[in-house]
Subunit: 454 residues, 2 copies
């Protein structure tokens, strides 16, 4: 009976942990450089905090924790015999694992509103759990990396989030990302102009296929969804929607001139795009994309989505937007927020595919002292202490080799862990030092070794 | 209805996160310096992995996760009507939150035995969950920080763990810790000599009170527990158990001369103690303590416990020991292990009490640009980009002040977040720069500001 782990969960080896931490630390560093502060919330919340916040499907995917002790005694017999799992759940489970970081953050802001200085720029990097069907790249336990600002309506935040994406991906050396931006108000403006709010999703889905099926194909699909030819005529510019972001902004401004909200959206987008042009990005490209319609249920202003470099075929590696009423669900009204998220698992896959992990230092000793002679161990341990004081990872192979075979085992360990430098013997206060790459051997003092290894 | 969190759990503010990360990072750094590699395991395991490993009380304290979907349909009607919570749990819950890091580690080693290079020095810093009654300093979600070596019986590991404790606490500047050491084999030897294995705990508990109730008090308690006067006579030296570690070792050697196992224990302890004398500790003291009897159920060799500096009244801040058969429960026999653990929450309290957190840099901007003039914002954002490129945390106050009151609000923000340097206006390419401590104001270029702030 080989032991295993629940489906959709993962063990991480030390190589994987080191690579993941490289990504986490890069994100953290940029978050703090941009003035964001970390918070952490508990892994499980009261069910009342989470339930009803993610729609019916979300409620179903939340992992519920069974009450402790003799939890069944309190359950109504009649209810139990009905075997209605949903109803019984509310009686035998009061806590649930968090499903995302946004709802716990909203809860945190309301609960600690008197201790918080607004505008509150917070970041949070913690795991979340979803009872989703596991499949390639989708897990039941995964990390979210979120940065949000609450209590400010300034569009400079949107500008900063574009810079923040650029900062992180540049530092990760993931070059050629595209930060797509849209604005909910532009989508509302389009809906107004085509005269059908309920057709907005159909419209954007069809429009998104322009590259693949051409203008005629898109128009045909729109008509099949019940959008009138007259309406399509009004948003004609969207079918030749190429050129620079400025060209697009101008086309949108003309097209949405009759819609107050749409015009507002164009102004907001223009502010972000023009300021980013002035401030310049390092490796990312900002692209106005009117087909971007993620999070229409909650985003009220800017909408962001980041695409991986074109050579990697993978979905979005980040996203976010502005929401006008984050904390209202917990009774604190009129707090505007805007935030973005990084998709750790996808970023990991992108970096793996692009061979960007070679620069990540693995957690292994730089210098290994072999353990062939009992009377040399203490001298070696003293040398190791000196190396460690100088910040050099080093260790003594723990068990003394008392046979040729056991010596071989130690050399195999060197090989398997990919250790760069090995000390074999001690000779009159000097150490026999071997570079495993060049296979060169020298007799050196510990000071000389420190110099070489550093 | 103010929202809250489940009892026994905690929200962490950014100051708390920064302080906790300071401790985590120090521990991690030493772990890696000593050649340990990180692994991570899922937050929840199959119940079969965890149940039955921590005794009956442990089983009760494990948080169980309710199966997803319509979990009640599969439950036997008769069983349900019995309302036996324990029996029903096995039918409606297949997963549970991890209770410690040791059992998941054992599971990991067995599951990945073909990928692992032995001896395997792993560390793991992750939260665990226990449905314990919450009380001061005891939580339902808390972190464990463990380092273990499996696949080596070398006593150099014990030596290294003493050094590792000393390394971490010295770097944290927690001076004056006492690393207590004992050996299970010595306790077995004592039990042999007093002729009563089952009285060992009573014996050590009584002996531990020597300082408080004196020799006569201790003897009286022992007799009341059923230990014979003759037996007590045989371990007489333990009542004058003062002096150096070497004195104690000699006394033990004499006392346990008739016990083979006890004599082995003395030898093992002597190895660790003498080598530590040679290698020297930075700030900790190693102390042989024969009353140390933690983990008697599983430790088979060395036993460790770390006491906080004497001026702080708190229990142990770390502990560990050697166990001969960690992975046997999952079918991999004869793998010896030894490991230690750091108690994060207690270390936090100790550092707080000793005022050691002042050195921890808080996550806040070093330079804040006030936002009083709309036409200055872009110039300020360009300056901020330059500061960030130079690694200086900085930000623009997001919202433009359009009244005196709103200006005051920005100054209040500076005050509340304790920001050191503020830029007010831009004047001909220079910035009005204010040091909030000295209240000095200067007109500086961005290059000059970078120089001052760094």
């Amino acid at each position: 009976m080989k032991p295993g782990i629940p489906k959709g969960t993962r063990d991480f080896s030390s190589t994987e942990v080191a690579r993941r931490n490289f990504i986490f630390n890069t994100i953290k560093h940029s978050f703090e450089l941009f003035g964001f502060q970390p918070i952490e919330t508990p892994s499980f919340e009261n069910s009342s905090t989470l339930m009803g916040k993610y729609g019916e499907e979300g409620d179903r995917l939340i992992f519920k924790i069974l009450n402790s002790g003799d939890y069944l005694t309190k359950v109504d017999d009649a209810l139990l015999s009905e075997k209605d799992s949903n109803k019984v759940t509310t009686q035998i489970s009061e806590k649930a694992l968090r499903y995302d970081l946004t709802v716990p953050f909203a809860r945190y802001v309301v609960q600690h509103q008197n201790e918080i200085t607004f505008p509150f720029k917070r970041y949070q990097i913690q795991p979340v759990w979803r009872a989703d069907k596991p499949q390639k790249g989708r897990f039941r336990e995964f990390y979210q990396c979120d940065a949000d600002v609450v209590g400010s309506t300034s569009l400079w935040q949107e500008v900063e989030f574009v810079q923040l994406y650029d900062s992180v991906f540049s530092k990760l050396n993931v070059q050629g990302t595209t930060i797509k931006i849209n604005n909910r108000k532009i989508l509302s403006g389009i809906a107004e102009v085509i005269g059908a709010k309920d057709k907005l999703i159909d419209f954007t889905v069809a429009l998104d296929k322009l590259d693949k099926i051409g203008k005629d194909g898109v128009v045909a699909e729109m008509i099949s969804k019940g959008i009138s030819e007259e309406a399509i005529q009004k948003v004609q510019p969207l079918f030749e929607f190429t050129g620079s972001n400025n060209d697009k902004l101008n086309a949108l401004a003309d097209m949405l001139i009759t819609s107050e909200e749409g015009t507002k959206g164009v102004e907001e987008l223009r502010f972000v795009i023009e300021n980013i042009q002035e401030l310049e990005l390092q490796t990312a490209t900002l692209e106005l994309d009117v087909t971007l319609a993620r999070g229409l249920n909650y985003y009220t202003g800017a909408i962001f989505e980041v695409s991986a470099p074109k050579e990697v075929k993978i979905g979005s590696i980040g996203g976010g937007g502005r929401y006008d009423d984050l904390t209202g669900i917990f009774g604190l009204k009129d707090v505007s927020g805007v935030g973005i998220s990084f998709g750790l698992d996808r970023i990991y896959l992108v970096m793996e595919e692009l061979g960007l992990f070679e620069a990540v230092e693995l957690p292994k000793p730089k210098v290994l002292f072999l353990n062939f002679e009992e009377n040399e161990s203490l001298v070696k341990m003293k040398a190791i202490a000196e190396l460690r004081t100088n910040g050099i990872k080093s260790e003594l192979y723990p068990d003394l080799a008392s046979s040729n075979n056991q010596q071989k085992k130690q050399w195999k360990y060197v090989d398997k862990r990919g250790i760069d430098f090995v000390i074999t013997d001690v000779d009159n206060g000097q150490f026999k030092f071997k570079d495993t790459k060049t296979r060169e051997e020298k007799l050196l003092t510990i000071k000389e070794i420190i110099k070489i290894v550093q």
